[in-house]
Symmetry: C4
Subunit: 277 residues, 4 copies
């Protein structure tokens, strides 16, 4: 059994494991990997491009109009790229999302590794092409992520964990959970990225995506606090997978369920029988 499935088993015994386990030999897997390459290329080109373009017209100052512009660049890019590649690759465009999908057993570990390689490759190529077309005076650090003055590494890590938790929660609720509004999932996921950028950009740049952080960092050599953008998203995605599968899809006693049962038995049963006999 692949490692992803084993991990998923360990975290969440009742997850539906292996439903989509596919062979590496399939053309579909390769199409998916190429789609992830292109989509991550475009995402970094458009996201970092939005940072660079809005920086060029605002003299690098971050104000509310630039914040909103950056949020739209990233959020709407995700809307269109998930809509375009969802049917081909699942439209992850983010190694943290891929991790959560692998943990859920919806994609096997080998396909996950193909996606990861392609995502990082696409991110570097997107940043490189953006650098090529951008006048040196505008380049700055090409939209690399970094912590704001006053935000220390731990606060930044917590922010990235919360942001990625929300993102992956929405991914599970709208695109993985079959009760969710699957038809509007690209919109919901992209809008999630939009609103998370409004909140997160002034703190950490709002990565929630190691590939988005890695691309421009590689091209410009900006590695300060880079660890935050790997640990934050990967931890956040794992927690969101675990909470969503454990509480909202899961049907037996697990940590979440056990906690709920405990609260239920101790607090609400007496109240319930008093009020609703």
């Amino acid at each position: 059994m692949p490692l992803g499935a084993t991990l998923a088993e360990w975290f969440c015994p009742n997850a539906r494991i292996g439903e989509m386990s596919e062979s590496l030999q399939s053309t579909e897997a390769w199409r998916g990997a190429l789609a992830e390459f292109l989509a991550t290329f475009f995402f970094v080109y458009l996201g970092c491009g939005g940072v660079v373009a809005s920086g060029a017209v605002e003299d690098e100052k971050l104000d509310a109009e630039r914040l909103l512009t950056i949020a739209f660049a990233h959020g709407i890019a995700i809307v269109i790229l998930v809509a375009s590649t969802g049917a081909i690759s699942g439209g992850h465009i983010n190694p943290a999302v891929t991790l959560s999908i692998v943990l859920a057993g919806k994609v096997n570990l080998l396909r996950g590794i193909m996606y990861w390689v392609m995502q990082f490759l696409g991110a570097v190529c997107g940043a490189q092409v953006l650098k090529f077309v951008t006048p040196p005076a505008w380049q700055g650090n090409l939209g690399s992520h970094g912590l704001a003055q006053g935000v220390d590494g731990f606060a930044g890590l917590v922010m990235e964990i919360v942001l990625t938790f929300v993102l992956v929660f929405v991914v599970f609720a709208t695109a993985v959970d079959t009760r969710g509004p699957v038809a509007t999932a690209p919109l919901a996921i992209g809008f999630t990225v939009l609103v998370l950028h409004i909140v997160g950009v002034p703190y950490t740049g709002a990565s929630m995506n190691p590939a988005r952080s890695f691309g421009p960092a590689m091209v410009t050599g900006t590695w300060k606090a880079h660890w935050v953008y790997w640990f934050g998203p990967l931890i956040g995605a794992t927690l969101a997978f675990w909470v969503y599968m454990g509480i909202f899809i899961h049907s037996g006693p697990l940590i979440g369920g056990a906690l709920a049962s405990w609260v239920y038995a101790r607090v609400f049963v007496p109240m319930g029988s008093a009020l609703n006999p």
Copy 2:
């Protein structure tokens, strides 16, 4: 019969009462309550986070770009959270919305109380975590609500009543009324929150949600004019429930229908028979 249903009976005799009356013992009710906890946590984290983040980059000044940024933070947060939790809890994320749904008899009173507790708990936790990650220089009152210079308590109350009336009207028209566009309800409801913030933020902060007001007020101790953010939303939600159910779903003579009948008989029948014999 639960109190909610009784109230609904009193306000609006023909409402479809008790259709979804569920037992407190059901796992579904608990999943719903936990979903409300998480969604309200996220809503306060993202909404107040948008206020704090845009305040950090604009030096606390409220101008049109910050107004729009705050409106997007709250509105898009509601889009994604209703899309994510709609199938689990109904996606209320707001005690005033829960009140109207209880009055309509779609959720029984006990489940409503579970939701209310979880919403206020989630709001306080969301504000607390936001405070933890935010540098003290940016915190301000963490997006607590308050009345603008020149807006007295009564004007603020009327504004909150109108805003919440529109919100709950849209909730009933798109998500409760089976003729409505249920598939796009999360978008419609979230966009409603967006536009209501554009109008209401400069007046009262545009709460329309006692939990959203309570969370940061609790964490920062900002209680000035706090009563407006409880009475306004609860009155507005009750009125919207009564108008929507009484006029647009209801089929017998009620206050709205009686008024319409009166106008019809006195004004339009003569005109109608003159023009369209």
Copy 3:
């Protein structure tokens, strides 16, 4: 036969006339009229409220961020109000739209008059309530329409005709024409209002709706160039009805079809037979 149908017959002989001709006695018609009252009330409250709120924070200066804020206030208000009242009244919220629907024979003239009365009544009430809650220092002319410096009456009229033409064209293409994307019509129509405001606000205020112009004008007594906001929208709506029904729904020879036939026979048939034998 009602006058609307007669006019429609005259303009466009093949329009599907009278399909929805309803009796004034029906409760449905009254519900529709009340829905139009409420929706136009909300639209004026939110649209003018957006103008007032953004003016309050920008010291009445019109810049790009306020332009965008005003466009969102009006556009998103229409999205949510059409989504909410579409199933009840058709979601016109605009006398010019109602005119085009009456001309198309989808609503009979009496019901059209009921809608018109309710729309103007709702607009005046919405502006009045907005005035009540707004501090006098912010009120200005409550978002009444007027022509910019350098835009004369005729240019303003042409702008309003073009704007309303686009609006009613989209209404026909997405909500009347059964081939159109009816499920997303509220979004398409509201987004149309949004983009038309971006272009039109600096010229004429972008009314395209006599009720929206009339409400705040009545409450504040701002009547300068008011004729533009009646003739422009009503002419634009009539032209759009005529073009859409005549060319895109119509199936026999009419002015549009005749022109197309003429161009076809004189220009393209020789070319076509040369290239595609």
Copy 4:
């Protein structure tokens, strides 16, 4: 066989050619051409109008709020116009998109030429009417495209190629590919135009559409670097057609497929057999 189909055959032997090959004599083709005329007229009127209107209120300065306003004007205009004309003409509104659809064999060459003529005609008329209603002090170059200081012709060409590649990729993924989310294609395509403007406007103006560039250039005589706006979009559209059809729809060995097969056989088969025996 029409030239478009022949070219498509040459580029991509397995494309589904000739599926929609229609006769020039059909009324449908003429309706389509007239719809393309109107839609391109409106697109240029609204897009250039957004540039002019935001320039009028910002004293011609390009800052982040104007950038966002221009992006919304163009992007939302495409949302509503594709939604309105998609069922009539396919909703191209762009000669580069029409080229890619002709290459894919979905529209025959003659119909493509009809569309092209109408698109350029509509663009010139739209710019002309906009000029008529606009006070001379605001006109500038009516939103004509040009290269920013520091962006040379080749960088501009690459930017336009990438932008158009993304646009046509999304068109194929959401509207041509039957697995895609066809119902939300107008939204996805228009949002693509929106995000591409955020990135591209400070560099080249973000044309990706020769008709959009040609209209205001013709009316104001602004021809500097105009070649970029023909070669960039046409090359980008051709590449996107070729990549999408060749890799994601195509099922036999082609350049993309061959490359993937090569990488697969040399790199992943050993790894795959080691990890997933």
